[in-house]
Amino acid sequence: MSNEFLALGIIFIFVFVTTIVGMLPGMKEKLNLEGWAIGGRGFGRWLSWFILAGEIYTAFAFLGASGWAYARGGPTFYILGYGALAYVVGYYVLPKISPIGKKFGLMTQPDLVQHIYDSKPLGILTAVIGVLFLLPYLQLQLTGLGIIIQTCSYGLITKVPAMLIAFTLVAIFVYLSGLKGVATTAIIKDVVMIIAVVFFGLYLPFHFYGNLGNMFDALDAAKPGFLALPGGTKVLDVSWVMSTLVLTSLGFYMWPHFSANSFSAKSPEVLRHNAVFLPLYQICLLFPMLIGFTALLILPGLSNPDMSFMVMVQKVFPGWALGLVGGAGALACMIPASDLILNTSMIFTRNIYCRGFNPDADHPHQKFVARIIVFIVTATALCLAIFAPNLLVNLLLIGYSGVTQFFPMIVLGLFWKRSTKIASFCGLIVGEILVVYLTLNKLDPVAILGLHLNAGFVALMVNLIIFIVISIFTSNNDDLIAKEKRLNAL
């Protein structure tokens, strides 16, 4: 059989089997809204670990990390840094969120914000911003899938029809199975992914250079300084990496889907235990980078750096091996995408549609609307992926800058008694305006006093100062007591 049909056939089998496995939990029992959206709050250690870890190995880790290594060099290593730090933050934040969610029936991040500050408008604002920044992240997964299918078909299928087919499948999958299906299939995805990246990440440099050290020596000789900061760039220097690490480690758990994922845990203990072991999983992010670095010497001049992983495998291995990688990569795009779609549709339904337009909607009606929104959200992201393509890492960083602006409102809201809703409004709005302004005017990174700071970091600092100052001036005793009551779930 020819290479392209073999490769595509293997990808199809991967996607098909996973879809069946993912649908099983949804078909066995009749899911209510809570069961569909947050797994009935019953996830133990393992399912919870996989749903949290599943969000790490996305299209970005798989294709974006190798693409960045290929194009930028040293600055790529920031990816190794932020994960471990994010879990230290998560260790404190997630176990605090989960019992409040259980006691007060919260399902989404805007639910949580509305609850902390007892403010419906603030919840709606959070929902709108959350949906806006989830879309580029979802788009990233779609673009990744397009790249994979395009390469595996050896050019036979173009990106757009490939994305259309696969994402119809994803939408049906989310519609039927909900979070339980996502968690179950995340297990399959993670195992396949780890095997694929570790194997190819070690095989390729060893195949061409004998060992890792030789590969990096050769790269350093060919391109001096490429492997340190600022690498192949002018502005992604030490100050950029430091500010980006602060931004991404604080912002990691501000992604709206992580609130929902922590509501799905059986107990705070589960989340604490997971946080301890999640950092180790970050090591897997190193392997795609090794492939990107190897590709730079072997295949110079790729037009799209994000394709370096796939093209490398295509060049060295026969079609069936490319199919296995493509299958693993397709899952790495689809499973996180399912989680994102699920959460975007829940936020839209509960926090925008119900709170804003139809406050009397009961749970069955909410579930009905949420399932319809699944298809609308998927279609929107698909349109973005087709008409506004962007390098994967740019999509990720825009999303990060946006959602990290929730940090003062949510984390200080939970841990600092004096935080107020007026301060949240002001900090959040100013932060988001700054992010949008700096990004749209191509001022990211921002040059201040000879430093190159991540735009999201600058916005976060301004946001934080505004938040703290206004909180101090607007907090009063009655509010403090009321807020204390809302947060003491245990």
Binding site: G74, L80, L85, V88, L212, P279, L280
Partner: protein, 64 residues
Amino acid sequence: MKALKFVLTLIPFVWTIAMIPFVNTVKPIVLGLPFLAFWLVAGIFVAFVCLSIIYKIDTNNSNG
């Protein structure tokens, strides 16, 4: 205990963020990795060890 937990929480951040200006070199290559990459990979283990100890302290507290 509280002070110890605070220090353990701080260590990964100091290791991974504050040390960047001092570890930004390619050579020496350690365990096959450029020094900067090696340092950040080591940071992952540092975070794991620190969180493990914090977790131990927390569970001991809740049992006793």
